[in-house]
């Protein structure tokens, strides 16, 4: 029985480890923002979109998405005096599009977050009905890693309990941890 728990603990931990490192590192970044630069890399490209002028922002976004110039979620569509302005976002990347109906050209300003910025955005991904298949797969992994965390906790406690020599120190640590956290959870909720 102990062997089964130990193998389950090992497999669940290794299945979750890159995601746990991502959550841990991005949590450090969120807690200590000043330690990391989140300056994005910005590039600008100009493209001719279609032969006829476009007046509908969503149609413009669709064309640019079909051309793989932008992707994922439209945040803002705005008519300007000379054309259309779009803001589109995918995880860690922001697209600012200025389209001119006169020239039929779109200037796309792309801002890509650095590594820690990407981890920050990935940390917030969840759900299985997102804007793209890739985001849904991330969502699937979030579910799997959450289950792995429960398995790790339960099998870890079982294995500790079976180590008779470490029962006392473990019980003290567990009591302190639960006492501290549950007391604060109740105190903050009641405040």
């Amino acid at each position: 029985m102990y062997r089964w728990f130990r193998n389950t603990h090992l497999v669940a931990g290794l299945l979750a480890v890159p995601f746990l490192l991502m959550y841990g590192l991005s949590a450090v970044q969120m807690s200590h923002g000043g330690w990391f630069s989140l300056e994005p890399t910005v590039t600008e490209t100009t493209v001719t979109v279609a032969s006829a002028p476009i007046h509908d922002g969503r149609a413009l976004a669709r064309i640019l998405m079909e051309q793989n110039r932008v992707r994922d979620e439209i945040r803002q569509v705005k008519a300007t005096g000379s054309g259309i302005q779009l803001q589109i976002e995918s995880t860690g990347t922001a697209y600012d599009v200025h389209y001119s109906t006169q020239t039929r050209q779109a200037v796309i300003r792309t801002s890509v977050a650095p590594f820690m910025g990407m981890l920050n955005r990935i940390h917030h991904l969840a759900g299985l009905h997102s804007a793209s298949f890739v985001l849904d797969v991330w969502g699937g992994w979030v579910v799997a890693v959450s289950l792995c965390l429960f398995v790790l906790g339960l099998t870890g406690i079982y294995m500790w309990f079976r180590l008779y020599k470490e029962r006392v120190i473990g019980a003290i640590l567990l009591a302190v941890s639960l006492g501290y956290s549950l007391t604060l959870i109740l105190l903050i909720r009641g405040a």
């Binding site: 299945l15 890739v134 797969v137």
Partner: protein, 82 residues
């Protein structure tokens, strides 16, 4: 009027409370210290867990499959997302 959030929203708020927010209330500040400890503990547990696997049973086939699947999936998703 004071409106109380539901318990899941409350847990969500708790999990995102960090020292970065410079909490004024002592209870929330103490919770932020606990979260800070938990974040570093998570990193230490993940890294020592990998070390213990490599030091004790590196040839465990299921373990190799699990780490291969998760690392390759993570890298592919990261590249696709970027």
């Amino acid at each position: 009027m004071t409106q109380r959030t539901n318990v899941w929203a409350y847990f969500n708020n708790l999990h995102s409370t960090t020292l970065h927010d410079r909490p004024y209330d002592w209870r929330i500040r103490w919770w932020a210290y606990y979260n800070e400890f938990a974040v570093w503990a998570l990193l230490v547990m993940a890294l020592t867990g990998v070390y213990l696997w490599l030091a004790s049973r590196p040839r465990h086939v299921l373990a190799q499959a699990a780490v291969g699947l998760s690392v390759v999936s993570f890298l592919i998703l990261y590249i696709q997302t970027r």
